[in-house]
């Protein structure tokens, strides 16, 4: 018989409310966070199904048409090459969100591993590892990216690498801080007295308890990564036309801000709404995941 079947055999068991469940319940009470959550889901879904719902191809040009304001044919208008803006915003969202989530995931993976090991082992190793972080922190980011560009050429995936390579530093610091605090807790001491292996202590006891602040920080990292991507693209170091991201759309929209304002407004709105949603969600998560409040 499997473990799960065994557990359900015990009659009249009271359902336990884990801290995660409790956090979810509390999150649901936070209207702004819920709105942020759903808006985010909508944006993500739209981005995923973009190829299915886009009325035009994102690179189909219509030069004679040129830039036109929003109309029934083109909901968000067209750009200087006659391309439908709505389509380009949809596809741009795919890039921006993908970069946002993937780069954050990369930084999460590296940051958690690095920070946990550094904080857990402590001592000289910790000092060395953190000095490395300090040094990397002080490297000027743009120079680093340009250097990568020079070495590997203009590569979309390179951008993930560059952004991930920067964001993991802060994640590592946060994780290490959490691990240092947790290490002093008595339940970790109890793990030692029970003879549990370091691997088990890290994976089963430390990591689940640091996830709270890490999750919150992640929802706040994604917007910053997206802005970073926008910045890089703005500078011409990221996405190359005819592909587009919200950042590129915004940068080209700025050029023609006065004559064709819609070229700036729509991609700008798309980015702003996504960032707001992530921020509200992040705030709500921070309050919901606070274990002290669970005692009420």
């Amino acid at each position: 018989m499997s473990l799960q079947e065994n557990i359900s055999e015990i009659a009249e068991e009271e359902i336990g409310t884990s801290l995660w469940k409790d956090a979810w319940i509390r999150l649901q009470n936070n209207k702004m966070a819920l709105i942020g959550f759903f808006v985010l889901i909508v944006m993500i879904v739209l981005a995923i199904i973009a190829p299915l719902i886009a009325p035009y191809s994102y690179e189909a040009q219509n030069l004679p048409l040129g830039p036109t304001p929003p109309s029934w044919k083109n909901w968000m208008g067209t750009d200087t090459f006659g391309r439908d803006l709505f389509t380009r915003v949809l596809y741009g969202g795919r890039i921006s969100l993908a970069v946002g989530f993937v780069a954050t995931a990369v930084s999460l993976g590296i940051g958690i591993a690095y920070g946990t090991i550094s904080g857990f082992i402590g001592g000289k190793l910790d000092s060395v590892m953190m000095r490395i972080v300090d040094i990397l922190y002080s490297l000027p980011f743009i120079l680093f990216v340009i250097m990568l560009m020079v070495l590997f050429g203009r590569n979309f995936y390179l951008m993930f690498l560059a952004i991930g390579a920067v964001e993991w530093l802060t994640m590592a610091r946060i994780v290490r801080g959490q691990v240092l605090t947790l290490r002093k807790q008595e339940f970790i001491e109890a793990c030692y007295s029970l003879g549990l292996s370091n691997k088990r202590i890290i994976t089963k006891h430390l990591v689940p308890n640091i996830l709270g602040p890490v999750i919150v920080y992640t929802t706040l990292t994604i917007p910053s990564v997206m802005l970073l991507e926008a910045f890089l693209s703005f500078l011409g170091l990221g996405i190359q036309p005819p592909m587009s991201s919200w950042g590129l759309l915004i940068s080209s929209g700025v050029d023609t801000m006065e004559e064709f304002p819609w070229l700036l407004i729509f991609p700008g709105l798309a980015l702003a709404i996504t960032l707001f949603s992530l921020n509200f969600l992040g705030d709500g998560l921070r309050d919901a995941l606070d274990p002290k409040a669970a005692k009420d």
Partner: protein
């Protein structure tokens, strides 16, 4: 100086020292501060008895308790379990001894992993040390919960859903899972209300009798120690001031510090 029976000693320390050093300053101005938390402590803990270790905060009793279990590495001295010197054993060599020597902590809130259910907490040591396998772990967990007076129906609940006294029961259950012979109880009832204290103290006494445990009961509360301990050692500033059978200590304290402690206890007298 010890008036305790020396036959059948389960745990013993000889000249145990635990010092903490802190280095401040940089480059050529380095200053090293050494705090001697445990100074040359030689203590014999008889099998099957509850030995009290009394002292005020900062006297080193908690550090001593942790040093015996090697949760803090002692600076010098020897620790013996059933006559075997365990002081210099490596981490893997310690594992069989870890099963025999457990600890109960003071804080019922910080000593349990808030993300694990009661089942997870108690089953973990059972499964990791192969005391139970997936087919009988449920009944084992139920047995242990019963032993500590926890209702079976709470098995899937989480620490924050329990009161302080119940959490302490869970912590005790966890340490009993590995079937220890020796338990260091570090102020196990200090954070609990008086009515709950008595429940947990009764529980510890019952467990000691049923499972033939030996307990080192660390506390600052003399009246609790007087009630539950067979022998008492008084600690001050890292050193043992005196050590006697409980009833003797309270009637005829020899050390000045002990006398001062006994005088300070608020007594109800009308």
């Amino acid at each position: 100086m010890s008036k305790i029976m020396t036959e059948n000693i389960l745990v013993e320390t000889k000249n145990l020292n635990t010092h903490f050093t802190k280095t401040t300053g940089i480059f050529f101005n380095k200053k090293t501060q050494t705090t001697k938390a445990v100074k040359d402590v030689s203590l014999k803990i008889p099998k099957g008895e509850i030995m009290g270790l009394v002292g005020e905060s900062g006297c080193g009793k908690s550090t001593f308790g942790r040093s015996i279990l090697k949760l803090i590495t002692p600076t010098s001295g020897d620790i013996y379990f059933k006559g075997e010197n365990i002081t210099t054993l490596s981490k893997s060599e310690m594992i069989p001894y870890r099963k025999k020597m457990q600890m109960i902590f003071q804080d019922p809130y910080g000593s349990l992993n808030p993300r694990m259910s009661v089942f997870d907490i108690i089953s973990e040591p059972l499964l990791v040390h192969n005391i139970a396998n997936s087919s009988n772990v449920n009944s084992q967990v139920a047995k242990i919960m019963n032993l500590v007076g926890l209702a079976k129906r709470y098995v899937k609940k989480y620490p924050h859903e329990f009161s302080g006294g119940q959490r302490q029961r869970i912590a005790i259950a966890r340490s009993l899972a590995v079937e220890p012979e020796f338990i260091v109880a570090d102020e196990p009832v200090s954070a609990l209300d008086v009515s709950i204290q008595s429940q947990i103290l009764n529980l510890l006494l019952d467990l000691k009798n049923e499972l033939e445990l030996t307990i080192l009961f660390i506390s600052h509360d003399l009246s609790v120690v007087k009630y539950i301990c067979n022998n008492v050692a008084v600690m001050y500033n890292g050193e043992i001031q005196e050590e006697q059978k409980t009833s003797d200590l309270f009637k005829n304290p020899t050390a000045d510090y002990t006398k001062k402690l006994l005088e300070s206890i608020p007594k109800i007298s009308y």
